[in-house]
Symmetry: C2
Subunit: 245 residues, 2 copies
Amino acid sequence: MTQNIYDKEEFFAGYSRLARSVAGLDGAPEWPALRALLPDPSGLKVLDLGCGFGWFCRWARQHGAARIWGIDVSEKMLARARETTDDPAITFTRADMEQLDLPLESFDLVYSSLALHYVANLSALMAQVHRSLIPGGHLVFSVEHPIFTAPAEPNWSRNAAGRKIWPIEGYLDEGPRSTDWLAKGVIKQHRTVATYINMLIRLGFSIANIEEWGPTEEQIAAQPNWADERERPPFLLVAARTYRR
Amino acid sequence: MTQNIYDKEEFFAGYSRLARSVAGLDGAPEWPALRALLPDPSGLKVLDLGCGFGWFCRWARQHGAARIWGIDVSEKMLARARETTDDPAITFTRADMEQLDLPLESFDLVYSSLALHYVANLSALMAQVHRSLIPGGHLVFSVEHPIFTAPAEPNWSRNAAGRKIWPIEGYLDEGPRSTDWLAKGVIKQHRTVATYINMLIRLGFSIANIEEWGPTEEQIAAQPNWADERERPPFLLVAARTYRR
């Protein structure tokens, strides 16, 4: 089972204070780019893997999605998600993404925001996702970028000339990385960009778009402390589709 | 026009001494991985962009390619390539990749090894490549990996703990990078992985495979000084296809 870090008191308290937890999608700087990869949700059946507080599920419903299922392993997050809506078209369910058994050809869109890098057996999950999508269905997700997850010590450093640099090492050695972020010993799975892309292709997805996200000039003007994120992308965004029959 | 660095005396002399120049494809550690992305050349019409000394053109011919065109901007390299073969099925032509006007639906395979990162207007070239391929045709190429081309000072460094690291900065700021490699002021074009992939998708290619190349354990056992290349991939390999009609 995936480490359920979100239910640790210390992590949950810290996570709850992040802009993306307080302000929702608009507090997540990569949301405009991720949204641009999405199909119009109107009339769609949507599955959100790692739904957290349910911000995306509610957004999809507000934009006309017919039926939304949000899945998360964190009881604390689901409890809060359930408090936010009584819309019968939205269902929040506790489940471990390592153990999912999804129904066949049931969703038009599978979405996941910053959750899949916690999943060790991602190819098994993506195989489940593929079979659960209708032909021509959409998969849109974000993960921490492999450049971000590679180093054992993911901290900014300086080169001999005093220039701020992000230290890459271990990029091709995939597997768990233990980092201290909001709590000690958070386990993330490092895999390369190629692994994400080739896994999807081999499962029968067609790659539609990838984004190595960094803030726009407008975002940096509003939040100057985000400028470093252009030195190395913090997030990888992927849009893929199942083939039409 | 692309900087014709290969015809500079100093660069050419240095390049001619590299293992990949002396031993050909077998002197290039990424060749087995690149070869694995290729279709069987038997009977194919092949275009090699940046053919250099013509090693790949001769390999393709030895493996049954029907007709091979090698293009390069370097007169010195083409002169040597022409000395190596009098096979009438192989044609070496001098041309600037920024100025190509390729014939329509004429090739089964377009190949390029470590040349496209010199091309400033890559989307124009890739549009030419797309129209020059038959439906269902193959594009297979390698470039220096964006992690490799991003930094203004592309040199190994050490973090506070003394661990060897590759310093990333400027990853999302695409454009020319001037580096000193074999000669001073070699201009390469830095672009992100996403830019390579999305450019191909928008032009109508289907992505078949990408590899972020690093040496295998067997290669490191034979060449221990290659071990660092697993810390960050030096090369990006891409296989894409045009759609069948």
